[in-house]
């Protein structure tokens, strides 16, 4: 271990939560250090305190609500907790800077990109306007933004997600800070963009000797970028170590659990069943948004182009794609939450693509959907039971039988049947997603559509919900349509996969074959971008005594 002074050193840091919270400390007795030329990943699930830790370092905690009460934060040896607000302000943006999760909202929408980089120079330097401009162009070039001279005049909404994050990074690096804090900087980005941004952060850190504190929930990202890893759980550090050691032989049970929960990119072996009956199929399904305003010419978006898919009984078809690929559009057309612009959707032999609402109702039962956001999927004003019986009673089931079924289903999805009288806010996100699955099953559907149903969940909860989905598919011999942006998840639950890109299915085949040998250039790029693709998470090696002693 080097004796050189670390860039950032946290020592016994504790941050209190306000009275009435579910625990006294957001962060408790946290110590770790970021060394020069090092990327330290702090990894944890939501509520682990990783983000609060990062905000505490920057002095960006909301006043009077979260307060650091103990410990020290040393930036190049100076304790930040002893600084005046003025001194802290002089350090922010100059010696330490931060980039955030959502580059769209982190950039001011009414200021031009170049001005937002230049702002840092205005605040902290006496450079002339000409010098500032030169520096802006220089850093824009350093973060590999094309045509800086032109792009500095753009507003954030005119840029892509990746370009926006590059602008953020450029602003953060304009004064060559000693410490860069990156708070989930790629979580809101598509996987191909994520790969580029991760590479950029790594390159820049090497070129400029910057210490990087990188907050993430994603072990794939950890594997790709981290030199060392700190694992946090409910405000405390549970384990720390070099990346390879920590991923291969984690010591703490929580770390082991987290890493084991990461789905593997290698498709799970699935029985190749006798080709069962096709339950749902689309033929040249099209959806065009917009067009035809009265006073205003609306722009047309061809969200789905000639999509042709088959889903068989007892099988799961995955649609994989990045944002804007049209995968959710297809799902919503199939459930008929939106009206397709053309093509056919067959359930057995009935074409429901263009059925008017009146005739559609009788088919509603047959296709059910589970949505992404567990917090908005249940009516907050109704008890769980009332949400569960609504559908069956629409189709004539008696009140008594419907409640009976609701309780059975609660049991089936692993919840207490007595909880039917509770309200959604009394459940966690994972539990709510179980309830949504129960609600869909209550209709005794033939097809179950899961639209990013596990994307908003922490990785450990995600694994359990995926397990449940696969169980109910097998138990009820359901045809399942699984929409996801995550190749790892798709590898674990899908029998077949369709890859969508800009509204078009570019590749479609059995999961094992497609993952083993992707044909289309876009599919290949998706696989190349998948973070941590070279790692087999959860296949742990036991440490030898000597190795353990070294850490």
């Amino acid at each position: 271990m080097s004796n050189e002074q670390p860039v950032l050193e946290l020592e016994g840091l504790s941050v209190t939560l306000p009275a009435g919270a579910d625990r006294p400390y957001a962060v408790e007795d946290v110590s770790f250090a970021v060394r020069k030329q090092e990327i330290l990943c702090v990894v944890g699930e939501s509520g682990s305190g990783k983000s609060v830790t990062a905000h505490t370092v920057m002095g960006l905690l909301p006043r009077k609500q979260l307060t650091p009460v103990r410990g020290a934060i040393r930036l190049l040896g100076e304790n930040l907790l002893e600084k005046t607000p003025q001194q802290l302000r002089d350090l922010r943006g100059a010696r330490m800077s931060m980039i955030f999760q959502e580059p769209m909202t982190a950039l001011n929408p009414v200021h031009r990109a170049g001005d937002q980089i230049e702002e840092v120079l205005r605040i902290h330097t006496d450079l002339s306007e000409k010098q500032r401009l030169a520096r802006v162009l220089e850093v824009m070039d350093a973060v590999r933004l094309p045509d800086p001279q032109k792009m500095r005049h753009s507003y954030p909404h005119q840029l892509s997600g990746g370009q926006r994050q590059r602008i953020m990074i450029a602003a953060a690096l304009a004064l060559e800070p000693a410490l860069l804090i990156a708070d989930e900087p790629t979580t809101a980005l598509d996987v191909t963009t994520q790969a580029q941004i991760l590479k950029l952060i790594k390159d820049i850190q090497r070129e400029h000797d910057t210490g990087v504190l990188f907050i993430t929930h994603d072990f794939g990202v950890v594997a790709d970028i981290a030199d060392r890893v700190v694992v946090m759980q409910t405000g405390k550090v549970v384990e720390e170590g070099p990346t390879e050691r920590l991923l291969k032989s984690p010591q703490h049970a929580y770390t082991r659990m987290l890493i084991s929960a990461v789905p593997s990119l290698t498709p799970r072996h699935r029985e190749e069943p006798a080709r069962s009956q096709v339950v749902l199929s689309t033929r040249n399904l099209n959806k065009i948004y917009g067009g035809g305003g009265f006073f205003q010419k609306a722009r047309e978006v061809h969200a789905a182009k000639d999509v042709t898919l088959d889903i068989r009984r007892g099988e799961t078809l995955g649609i994989v794609g990045e944002s804007g690929s049209g995968k959710s559009t297809v799902a919503r057309c199939i459930v008929r939450l939106i009206d397709p612009s053309g093509g056919q959707i067959f359930i057995d032999d009935d074409d429901i693509a263009l059925l008017p609402t009146r005739l559609l109702r009788r088919h509603r039962r047959r296709v059910q959907i589970v949505f992404q956001d567990p917090y908005r999927s249940l009516n907050p004003r109704l008890t769980i039971g009332k949400s569960l019986v609504e559908g069956p009673m629409n189709f004539g089931l008696s009140r008594k039988a419907a409640w009976e079924r609701a309780r059975d289903l609660m049991n089936l999805v692993g919840l207490d049947p007595k909880a039917v009288d509770r309200f959604p806010h009394q459940f966690s996100g994972g539990q709510r997603q179980r309830i949504c699955i129960a609600r869909a099953l209550a209709m005794e559907p033939e097809v179950l559509v899961a639209d990013e149903a596990v994307s908003a969940l922490d990785v450990s909860v995600q694994a359990q919900v995926l397990e449940l989905l696969d169980e109910v598919r097998a138990k009820f011999d359901l045809a399942m349509l699984f929409i996801t942006h995550d190749l790892r998840v798709a590898a674990q639950v899908c029998d077949s996969v369709a890859v969508m890109h800009r509204g078009v299915v570019v590749e479609y085949g059995r999961t094992a074959a497609l993952f083993a040998d992707p044909q289309h250039a876009y599919t290949k790029s998706l696989f190349e971008a998948a973070p941590g693709r070279d790692w087999a998470f959860g296949e742990f090696e036991e440490l030898s005594a000597a190795q353990a002693g070294a850490t």
């Binding site: 960006l60 955030f100 982190a106 950039l107 001011n108 009414v110 702002e119 006073f295």
Partner: protein, 313 residues
């Protein structure tokens, strides 16, 4: 840009049409015969007949509407029943005091209310914020005319600082004009200040929760610059919107304030006309005020594109 303005201008046509239809139907669908209503309680049958013919009330309804709209399009608001003068001419004579009163009020309001709202949001939860919010809710609750009389009583009668009532046109000198307009404008601006200060605070609070405000702080930006450079401009759209919608409040307030302070403006013209049931004037003025409101809000729509680059045209 020009295309956008033209499109927006076209989009106001149906709204203006609806207003015209309302104003027209108000007279013709109200219970009783309009001519009798207009003529008043002591009119002779001959008077009523004269009014009926004059207003074209003997024609079928749609013809009447058509004729009326056609003359409106030519800028003809009709002839006053009592003074026999064109309504447009009457409006022209009374325009100055109303316009200047509204303008002064608007200036006072923006200058006072926006900083108040910004400070309240910045100091949210403190006694400064609370005092400003109490002023805002009280200001919003005092009837304009009661406030007018309170101000006259203390400032003019007790302290003798400003004239009690009346209006001095700007042509008689700026200073006398200013003395005559000060109290009315203050009276009128209180409710408007209360409204704008509240919305400024609310929209600033919302914006201060945004990520880019955190980014600005992360860059080490000074707190007041965070407020002005980053937050206020983003909060401007709702503020400007409410200023526009508040124009309706302002117009209503003008009518009352002119009555309290005895200012010979459009508000007095319309009140007198209502008491005398001089229908062409009432219709003309309601139409004019509504069109002004629509056009101001159109201008504000166009202003949005300058404030926020995301709003496309």
């Amino acid at each position: 840009m020009l295309g956008f303005i033209v499109r927006r201008l076209l989009a106001t046509i149906p709204v203006m049409g609806v207003v015209a239809l309302f104003v027209f139907l108000m007279l013709h669908l109200s219970p009783g015969d309009p001519a009798t209503v207009i003529a008043g309680d002591y009119a002779s049958p001959a008077d009523i007949e004269r009014i009926r013919a004059k207003l074209g009330l003997d024609q079928p309804l749609h013809i009447q509407f058509g004729t009326w709209v056609w003359s409106l399009l030519q800028g003809d608001l009709g002839i006053s029943i009592f003074s026999n003068l064109p309504v447009t001419q009457l409006i022209g004579q009374r325009l100055e005091p109303t316009l200047l009163l509204a303008l002064t009020t608007l200036i006072i309001t923006v200058v006072v209310a926006v900083p108040m709202g910004v400070i309240a949001a910045w100091k949210a939860g403190t006694w400064i914020d609370r005092s400003i919010m109490i002023f805002a809710v009280v200001g919003f609750s005092i009837p304009v005319f009661v406030l007018g009389y309170i101000l006259i009583y203390f400032v003019s009668l007790k302290l003798g600082l400003l004239p009690v009532q009346g209006y001095r046109p700007i042509s008689e000198g700026f200073f006398p004009f200013l003395r005559s307009i000060t109290l009315p404008a203050l009276t009128l601006s209180v409710i408007y200040i209360a409204l704008i200060a509240r919305i400024t605070r609310a929209s600033m609070l919302e914006v201060l929760d945004e990520d880019y405000v955190r980014t600005a702080r992360a860059k080490g930006q000074l707190e007041w610059k965070v407020l002005i450079v980053h937050a206020l401009r983003n909060a401007a759209v709702p503020i400007v919107t409410i200023i526009g919608i508040g124009i309706a409040l302002l117009i209503g307030g003008v009518v009352v304030t002119e009555s309290v302070y005895n200012i010979p403006g459009l508000g007095r013209l319309v009140l007198d006309a209502i008491l005398k049931r001089d229908y062409p004037i009432i219709q003309g003025l309601i139409l004019m005020f509504s069109f002004v409101y629509i056009l101001i809000n159109l201008a504000i729509d166009i202003l949005y594109t300058l404030i926020d680059p995301r709003i496309r045209y």
